[in-house]
């Protein structure tokens, strides 16, 4: 039954989108009625998927698409889990979007509404698809819908360029996925996932399928070196769209990777795990180091998404390693960490992206160098962003810490692996994860501190207004998610038991559900973490200190200008800028960056300082490939002579060749 409900809900989203077309320019109708309705559908999707998660898989065959090639849909626990993530995040973002879109920004609101809901619906159907045909159709619909959303402000050339880059990489990735399905069906001609599951491929073909899937889904997820579209497309899109792309769409790639590696391809080989681990860690480090030096708030978040995807892929790698060696409970622990990170990232990254939307509307400014001090003018947005930033930094007792904790716990089990080489790799890997987590804290202090704290760096910021009620409602829902995931990990992990069991053959449910307040993944002697107790401890000390100081001493205070070692002139320009905050990272991780600096000489009349941080991969990999493609295209272009005689000659030669090949 839940599968039917979910398909109905997708239909409802498409209908809401379709209604938008009939109200192209009626902003009030679209914003106040259609987007909230979409949010309610998201909530219902969340509920329906939650009901379906523990149940047995269900299938449906819908006779749409080509004749004799119907769409197969299947709802199992993995799909239901991702549907819950999609529904929950979409509910928050839709509520925010109800207050976000304004008149006169590129694409008319009604059309945006259509693209937005088609995007949501196609993501649901990607997760539900049970044959390669339906999967690819939905995958492409998703890519196209998001492309049109990215170029909503299509009058700006950079945005069109970012959208084009995104579309290009999405399609190169799609080729990889298509070829992967081609390998998986093993010459049977039957492209349903049920058939692929029944095939037992030789290690060579299985590895080929895995590598193709890694390439295809890696391009969508933004794994290094296929990440270049992400920091371009995310800032270009309107904020709710960035939130959906970063919060949910990247997760569909994680879903695809999990589906192919653990479901369609049964048991992974050990070196797949090492490859995933390596690529994941590279992406995580690359992402966070670049995030720390960004000066555009949305680019910073986009790089932070690369980091988080990297952590998830590293976790998948660890899961693959454990399952290759048959260590099922450990594999379940690592997979639980990955899934937990999927859902907490969906909440906190959506929250941070929509928050940048509010800041953008209030100030018309995206550059960190021109913001500052907004906590005094937009307290709601500031405090909710603080929760998101702390979650993103992986700090207890919020959601991001739980997944990080589980991931580190599973790394501590790796010395049990029956492979001495891998055992030696572990300290390095755990050290890198720790470094990435610590750098994420640095980045988030920069993000929050530069935008919301300090003095306003521009005069106009003092006119900034707080977010409207719809925007606050959406953000509040996402904040609630971050906090709930942080404080109550036990019910979530118990729920995840049903997801990990079919994939790796074990789950944490039985162990974890032994205690409500403490998270005990293995045994109480081994490790435990009680977020609620933790918060209680800090809060109780906070309250006691507050009360006792007032009882024994006093609570008086006086406002005065800041002291700052007695310097008389203070202005906003003397604060650390975003560049300044990134400077230590630029020094320490210098080999990562391609830095272009223009420094003033002492004799300059108008001294000008400029620094630009570039990506080695863009110059070392993408530009040469682009040049190569251009050269090849020019060679092919030589065929075009522009004279009818030559074209007739081509036809004649082709005809002769065909006649020689085709014999009857």
């Amino acid at each position: 039954m839940p599968l039917d409900w979910i398909l109905t809900l997708v239909l409802a989203w498409l209908l809401i989108g379709g209604t938008g077309v009939f109200a192209l320019r009626r902003l009030t109708l679209v914003a106040r009625l259609l987007f909230p309705a979409g949010g309610v559908v998201g909530l219902l999707l969340f509920a329906a998927a939650a009901v379906a998660l523990p149940e047995a898989p269900q299938t449906r065959i819908l006779p749409i698409g080509l004749p004799s090639l119907p769409f197969h849909f299947r709802l199992d626990s993995l799909a239901a889990f991702f549907l819950m993530v999609i529904g929950a995040a979409a509910a928050g973002v839709s509520a925010f979007a109800a207050g976000y879109f304004r008149r006169g920004e590129g694409t008319p609101p009604g059309l945006l509404c259509l693209e937005y809901h088609v995007f949501l619906g196609s993501m649901v159907l990607v997760v539900l698809a049970d044959d390669a045909y339906a999967f690819m159709v939905m995958w492409e619909t998703m890519a196209l819908a998001s492309f049109f959303l990215v170029i909503a402000n299509h009058r700006i050339p950079e945005i069109r360029r970012a959208g084009y880059l995104y579309l290009l990489l999405a399609h190169i990735g799609a080729i990889g996925i298509l070829l992967c399905f081609g390998v998986l069906q093993a010459n049977t001609g039957d492209y349903t996932f049920a058939n692929m599951r029944a095939q037992h491929l030789s290690p060579f073909w299985a590895s080929l399928a895995f590598l193709l899937a890694l390439f295809g889904f890696g391009a969508k997820a933004g794994l290094v070196p296929l990440h270049v579209w992400l920091p371009e497309a995310h800032p270009a899109a309107p904020s709710p769209v960035s939130a959906l792309m970063s919060g949910i769409m990247l997760k569909t790639a994680i879903y695809g990777l999990l589906r192919v590696t653990f479901d369609l391809l049964h048991t992974p080989l050990w070196w797949w795990g090492v490859l995933l681990l390596g690529l994941g860690l590279l992406s995580a480090l690359y992402g966070v180091v670049f995030a720390a030096v960004q000066v555009d708030m949305k680019r910073l978040l986009a790089y932070s998404s690369i980091e988080n995807i990297g952590l998830m892929v590293a976790g998948i790698g660890l899961t693959a390693l454990f399952s290759a060696y048959g260590m099922r409970p450990m594999a379940a622990l690592a997979l639980t960490a990955v899934l937990y990170h999927v859902v907490s990232h969906a909440f906190f990254k959506s929250l941070l992206f929509v928050a940048t939307g509010s800041v953008l509307h209030a100030t018309r400014e995206r550059s960190l160098g021109k913001l500052g001090g907004l906590i005094r003018f937009m307290p709601w947005v500031a405090w909710m962003t603080l929760i998101g930033a702390l979650t993103s930094a992986g700090l207890p007792p919020l959601g991001g810490f739980v997944s990080e904790w589980l991931l580190l716990q599973s790394f501590l089990f790796t010395p049990g692996l029956p492979n001495a080489f891998l055992n030696m790799l572990v300290p390095v890997v755990a050290a890198l994860i720790a470094l990435v987590a610590a750098l994420a804290g640095y980045t988030m202090v920069k993000f929050f501190g530069v935008i919301f704290l300090g003095q306003p760096r521009e005069e106009k910021l003092t006119q900034a207004h707080d977010a409207g009620y719809w925007e606050r409602l959406g953000m509040l829902w996402l904040v609630a998610g971050c906090v709930a995931l942080g404080l109550f990990p036990v019910p979530v992990i118990t729920l995840l038991d049903a997801v990990t069991r079919p994939l790796v053959g074990a789950g944490l449910g039985a162990v974890v559900s032994g205690s409500q307040w403490l998270l005990i993944p293995v045994s109480i002697e081994r490790a435990s973490y009680g977020p609620a107790l933790f918060l209680l401890g800090v809060a109780a000390s906070f309250a006691l200190a507050f009360l006792l100081v007032r009882v024994f001493y006093h609570g008086r205070l006086r406002r005065a200008p800041p002291w700052d070692c007695g310097y008389p002139w203070q202005n906003a320009r003397m604060q650390d800028t975003a560049e300044g905050f990134g400077q230590p990272i630029r020094e320490i991780f210098a080999p990562f960056f391609r830095i272009e600096r223009t420094l003033p000489t002492p004799f300059d009349r108008a001294p000008h300082y400029h620094v630009r941080v570039g990506d080695h991969l863009w110059h070392g990999l993408y530009l040469p490939v682009a040049r190569l493609v251009e050269r090849l295209a020019r060679l092919i272009g030589l065929l075009q002579r522009g004279r009818i005689a030559i074209y007739l000659l081509y036809s004649f030669v082709t005809l002769i060749a065909v006649l020689m090949v085709v014999k009857r």
Binding site: Q409, A438, Y442, G537, A545, D576
Partner: protein, 315 residues
């Protein structure tokens, strides 16, 4: 868990709150002696706290509520840290709430809050201090985590009480992995507690201060709480170091007698450790801020080597 367990937990928190300023005073006394100065009284830190609590609170004009909440948050974090680190006994009711990883997270939470508060007023020194503090933090945090991982690989657990319990019951021998970890831990503690050679707790020289730059704008009760939290942090780190590397004498069974015996042992160890810290500070010089990454990278490497040794040799 019985009444005695809760009693020992409360005793441990109270002991930390009361003894932490004393430890700071003790170290200051030793520093003065080593520098051939006449030393301040051992009770000087208490007098300072008392004075600061009495003083009027002067708040920078546009400071937000985040700025006002931070001293309490930092104080709460440090109090919780002292509560979960086993100093007197290895049987603590609060200990399951946070293991070694969560302890590192707890310190990180305090650091993030104090850095954000320093950025809140929007002065040049505050943001400078925040940047430097986060720089030291992101280098020190992984090293600390690696040290704790070395210890947890030996005991197959990340729970602090289990780690200390295992380490306290092994034979008296030098464990190479722990030796590496111990050196790394000392280096990290110096950096995290704003001691020489990374930072100087006695300076307000603009170009070199880190911790003092963070709390530059604080006054009155806020400053008192932050000073107290700083000494609590030093106390927590000292107790963690003692519990990991010199765990002998800690009470493993809950009986009033065992607790009573553990207390003088702890005070003796802290006194020795404090004197050593002062000596270490006395013979080293403050380094430039851009040498600090090298210093902490060394600590990080040592900790990783310790872990490798542990995995390869199993000791």
């Amino acid at each position: 868990m019985n009444v005695l367990g809760y009693l020992s937990q409360i005793l441990e928190i109270l002991l930390a709150l009361l003894l932490a300023p004393l430890l700071t005073g003790w170290i200051n006394q030793w520093r003065a002696w080593l520098q051939n100065r006449s030393a301040p009284s051992l009770l000087q830190p208490y007098r300072k706290l008392h004075k600061l609590f009495h003083k009027e609170l002067v708040l920078a004009g546009h400071a937000s509520s985040l700025y006002r909440a931070t001293p309490y948050v930092v104080f709460g974090c440090m109090a919780l840290a002292c509560a979960i680190i086993p100093s007197l006994s290895t049987d603590l009711p609060l200990s399951p709430a946070a293991d070694a990883i969560a302890l590192v997270g707890l310190f990180a939470l305090a650091r993030v809050f104090i850095s954000l508060a320093a950025m809140d007023v929007g002065t040049a020194f505050g943001t400078l201090g925040a940047r430097r503090e986060m720089l030291i933090g992101f280098l020190a945090e992984p090293a600390l985590l690696m040290v704790l991982f070395s210890a947890s690989l030996l005991s197959r657990s990340t729970s602090l009480t289990t780690i200390v319990d295992t380490l306290a019951h092994r034979d008296l021998a030098i464990y190479p992995s722990l030796a590496f970890a111990g050196v790394a831990f000392t280096m990290v503690s110096l950096a995290e507690n704003a001691r020489i050679p990374v930072d100087n707790p006695a300076t307000h020289l603009e170009l070199t201060m880190i911790h003092e730059a963070l709390i530059l704008e604080y006054s009155g009760r806020h400053l008192a709480l932050l000073e107290w939290a700083a000494s609590l942090k030093l106390f927590a780190y000292s107790c963690a170091g003692l519990a990991l590397f010199f765990p002998w004498g800690i009470a493993d069974a809950l009986s009033p007698l065992a607790l009573l015996l553990a207390l003088p042992m702890l005070i003796l160890k802290l006194a020795l450790g404090g004197a050593l810290l002062a000596l270490l500070e006395g013979v080293s010089a403050k380094m430039r801020i851009f040498r600090v990454p090298e210093f902490l990278a060394t600590a990080f490497l040592l900790a990783v080597i310790g872990m490798l040794v542990n995995i390869l040799l199993g000791v």
